[in-house]
Amino acid sequence: MRHFHFISLLQRGDFLLFLVTLLLSFSLFLLPMSVKLFLSDFSVKTLFSPFQKATLEFAETLKAKRENRELRRSVLELTFENSRLKQAERENEYLRALLEMKGKSRFSFLAAKIINRDPGKVISSFQIEWGKEKGVRCNLPVVSSVGLVGKVMEVKKETATVQTIFERHCRVSAKVIRSGVLGIICWQKGKSLSLEMVPVRSDLRLGDEVVSSGLGGIFPEGLKLGKIVGIEPKPTGFFEKIEVEPEIDLSQLEGVFLITGIKEESPQIISLSDSLEKSPLIPKEDFYFKPKDFIWKERIDSVIIPRRPISEEKARE
């Protein structure tokens, strides 16, 4: 029965075709390698090569477009990453400066980020992130790792406004380190300061460093302000016109430090007023005016008008 079934199956044309094709396929499978290679090479060259090239180019274009899209996305991501890293680097520098300052300095600091600044060319004021809640109060000196920045002008609950040394009403009592000549630093124009109230023929040289003198009770002594870059007598003839180039560049500033106090254990702590009072060389009442006596007292932080001791004036007369 089975034998009959197989013969009937063989009599079917399609099955016979299947068997023949299968035999042909096996014979192809068992061909020697050299023949297979020749067959393959010939067929691919004649049938596909010219068209495959065009299709491959098309495929490559599609692939390149996809890659381009992905690359653009990754460039965007990397740009964001880069700016984030730059920000972190700046923050790192800022924190490093803070650490360094905290270690070396005799002051205790409160670090604060600048959250908002004057959009003008000269940054006369800016806002910081801390306010009354953090214990910030008016007239706290504000510094950076480079030098004096200004003082706190206005305090709110969560923010505070800092008046910089480039604000036209800001006055800082200053002295020249080398000769000890005293004066008042105020904003002149652009990014330059001027040292006012310095009598003619004072001992000044170009390049002399100017720091805060500590007189006035707001800014402590020794905070860097800048260097003298120009000296010429004023037309009135009584005072010198001294141009000071500030050390600080407020446009690059990310954060500042508020001087909240003076470390008690520091050996360098000498209260300025104490030191002046205790100094045997300077007769206090003769040498300077107190700020309250000064005519511009509402506008200034500290004013020192150096005068010659009375005994000298009397001698002249």
């Binding site: 094709t21 396929s25 049938l47």
Partner: protein
């Protein structure tokens, strides 16, 4: 690509002008040949763009199964040979593997055509999936010479995903193929 479109255009012109049955039969075979050629070109170029972790559809197999299912065993076997050969020439050391597996699977598919309702999409999908598995089994059987561990692992990784891929593409493509070859349906009568 220009060559392809111009030849399709030529086919259509010949079709419109053809008055004799032999001419139309020739054009039909040309169309089929062109389709297989295009499928192989696409298989070796553009299909690589839509592969997912090495799993990609087998366009020639989809065409072979279509012709076996809708046109019968003669078409199936001959086109299985053609499709397999066109694929195998790209890998000369394995020349014959695709041919054997496609011929066997197409004959099996053609034998099943009278036993299933082939117009139903679900049936088409299941047939495509199972026959792809069968095709791959035969292929790996000959490739690994009976090493069942390798055969099963390859089947599990490539064939299942490939079968699903083939089923999805087959379900989408079968109606288009039917429409394209519906004009010359009467030739078979």
């Amino acid at each position: 690509m220009e060559g392809f479109f111009s030849s399709v255009y030529l086919c259509e012109i010949l079709w419109q002008r053809g008055r004799h049955r032999e001419e139309q039969m020739t054009i039909r075979f040309l169309k089929i040949g062109l389709l297989f050629w295009l499928a192989t070109v696409l298989q070796t170029t553009l299909v690589n763009l839509i592969e997912i972790k090495g799993i990609k559809p087998d366009l020639s197999l989809i065409l072979v199964l279509y012709f076996a299912l809708f046109e019968g065993s003669v078409y199936g076997v001959v086109l299985g040979f053609l499709g397999g050969f066109l694929q195998d020439i790209f890998a000369p050391s394995y020349l014959g593997l695709n041919i054997i597996s496609k011929v066997v699977v197409s004959f099996l598919c053609a034998s099943l055509r009278s036993k299933v309702y082939r117009e139903k999409k679900k049936t088409q999908g299941i047939l495509l999936l199972l026959l792809t598995l069968m095709h791959d089994f035969l292929y790996f059987l000959l490739l690994f010479r009976g090493d069942f561990n390798k055969i099963l692992s390859s089947l599990g990784y490539f064939s299942l995903g490939g079968g699903i891929y083939n089923a999805v593409i087959g379900i989408l493509v079968f109606p288009l193929l039917k429409r394209w070859f519906a004009k010359d349906f009467w030739i078979q009568r």
